[in-house]
Subunit: 407 residues, 2 copies
């Protein structure tokens, strides 16, 4: 019998009515002949509320206790989910992460799944029950319950699907699927029927909120077919899966992502000596801030370079401090910070084989008189940085230029 793993995020189980609707989806999947395991998140804002409570008790709550506290949210979600299934006449049972056999290692609130021993999940499914499994949590080697960090429930679902050799893993969420661009910005954005793991990874890295790279990587490694879909409308979403070679051969753009959460830092007037760029990057690495899109301009005047980076807004202060110090040591002129920027990324395949894609992109922006602040390219993506005021126009122009809205 085929197995389907379903996953409902916090917004999909935010209140009793939504929980009942989520239960309907699981029962419908059961009716289609699947054995069904459902990974459930904490309802609505519950995790944030618990963290808020913790911070009122202790300004810096202990990590181990925080994990114990937060893990209750998913137990609440799964118990309510199983009750809702039973109220609709289906057999169902809820299991905590440890009960479902999830083992992990690492820090209490940012653990990594090491293994899943699905003995009880298999037994409950074999008995015809819908098994609601608490996501985001697992048993640590010392017998404690640890949590898996951001995107942990998605990871629980994908890992469970891998271990159960599930035919599919349906991620129910508050969006209808993966779009050619953010529909809030680009009105004729189109829902993709399918996308490859590689492209989805790039989209995720480029700021698409649908799923974190972490879970997509595991899905790719174990060939778990993901189906990202709406928890509220019973229509097909987007399949994330291995696509046939043929489709991969042709250079094409699948989707545009944009990300306003990063800022641009530039070290201006760095001496053009070997090893200088490495020193700047080492200074940044020491600050612990992740950087992206490292671009060094060609030397222009009197043998000096500019080196630019994108980094998360939250890391701006630390990164700027590290760069100021490095600039001083190297005799660079100054450090520039540009906060009002948006990164726009075209994700697809075959870009290296076909420079035409980049040409279309730059041409479309030029026609709108939009200045491109930074560019990087790879085989799977082309990133450009534009000023915030032009971002929406740029996104719509690119969407049109790549013909993403038409079918």
């Amino acid at each position: 019998m085929k197995v389907a793993v379903l996953k409902f995020g916090g917004t999909s189980v935010a209140d009793p009515e939504k929980i009942q609707r989520a239960a309907e989806r699981a029962i419908e999947m059961r009716r289609q002949g699947y054995r069904v395991a459902v990974v459930v998140s904490a309802p609505g804002e519950m995790t944030d509320e618990l963290i808020g409570l913790a911070k009122r008790v202790a300004p810096e709550p202990d990590e181990r206790e925080l994990a114990h506290l937060m893990s209750t949210g998913e137990i609440v979600g799964t118990s309510l989910f199983a009750m809702a299934c039973r109220a609709q006449g289906a057999l169902a049972v809820s299991l905590s992460g440890p009960q479902a056999g999830f083992r992990c290692e690492g820090s209490p609130t940012v653990s990594a799944i090491t293994s899943i021993r699905p003995r009880r999940v298999l037994a409950e499914m074999a008995a015809g029950r819908i098994v609601a499994v608490a996501g985001f949590q697992a048993l640590a080697p010392n017998g404690d319950t640890a949590t898996l960090g951001r995107g942990g429930s998605d990871l629980s679902a994908v890992a469970l699907a891998a271990v159960l050799k599930a035919e599919r893993c349906d991620i129910y969420t508050d969006v209808k699927g993966v779009y050619t661009a953010d529909p809030r910005v680009v009105p004729d954005a189109r829902k993709l029927a399918r996308i490859s793991y590689e492209e989805m990874l790039e989209l995720s890295g480029a700021g698409a909120q649908v799923m974190l790279a972490r879970s997509i990587e595991v899905a790719q490694r174990f060939r778990v077919r993901l189906h990202v879909r709406s928890a509220f409308q019973p229509v097909a979403g987007t399949w994330i899966e291995e696509l046939p070679e043929a489709a991969m051969e042709k250079a094409h753009v699948s989707s545009l992502a944009h990300d306003a959460s990063e800022v641009r830092l530039t070290v201006v007037g760095v001496p053009d000596r070997p090893g200088v760029a490495a020193l700047v990057i080492a200074a940044l690495a020491e600050s612990g801030v992740p950087v992206d899109m490292i671009v060094q301009s060609s030397p222009t005047t009197r043998g000096v370079n500019d080196i630019s980076f994108m980094c998360p807004r939250s890391g701006l202060r630390a990164a700027a401090k590290a760069l100021e110090a490095a600039a001083k040591r190297l005799g660079a002129r100054k450090v520039d910070v540009q906060e009002d920027v948006v990164k726009i990324t075209a994700v697809g395949t075959g870009f290296r084989r076909s420079p035409k894609v980049a040409a279309v992109m730059f041409d479309a922006l030029a026609k709108q008189r939009i200045n491109i602040e930074m560019i990087t390219t790879s085989d799977l993506k082309i990133c450009t940085v534009v000023s915030k005021e032009h971002a929406d126009i740029a996104l719509r122009a690119l969407h049109k230029a790549f013909g993403l809205g038409r079918r």
Copy 2:
């Protein structure tokens, strides 16, 4: 090293400030040289809120899922408690009921503790940590978490104290201890410094809300010294313990309890034949309603009796229905229901040896022209039932007559 088990009820950990204060109490106990384990309930109304949520998802929530759901409340309480201890500089760790070694059997929401394997509790205490244990929950034989029913957290604390051979078990609550009568009714009611298990059991059975009989029985069996005290004021409460023989010898009244939660039922005009009372009681037993104070009057006119009972208000309808049927079968005249009654119980010792106590009681009520509707006596208590309108006057008169307010 001596061990102290502390227990904080829901009202004592209802908000972050109260949790911090509760943590202070545990740290103070640690400072006095005890190894400390703390049983913590779910904060405030959390359990009721979870049940409310469950009923919105499923009109009749599955018991097993309900136990899973409710058990999260105590995890939240203990995690926050341990965080609060750490924020005040003490070592602390929280454990779920199953982690603390609590095993149980029975129905998922009304389980009975079968054993405690305190290996981890002992290890954590030996490492100098205050161990916060989730009350009200234990591991069922099938690996599920079950809950212990009403008063379950008290029971967890008393059982843990027994297994750890604790020198004391401090029950922190929203009252300051056990009083000679309810201070809200009797202004000069006095807090008792100590009371015997036997008397406390009678008080509990007579309607005192301090602790359920269930936990007191276990404390008595394992000679756990209980200390009922305020969570909000750092003063001594009431010790519940084995009292020296000397004190037991003298007939005395310790405390008065009153209970307005019961109603009186009377089968009027039952034929005075052997076995008739037994038939009436059998009918009641079949209705499942617990009864109390069964009193049969001596035959008065034409060989007929009246048989009266007290039963919980909640069971009135079922009990009345059973009695109506029995009355018809036996040819009794009718069934009388008296709802506005209050049971007042004097608890103490040596009543059988000294009829003087009963005499003082009846005399005091007679002086107030209060009619006694029913009476039963045992060696440890004298119960009287009076009409509701006279209850407060009766309680104050008795408190004075027994000299309970003076010291």
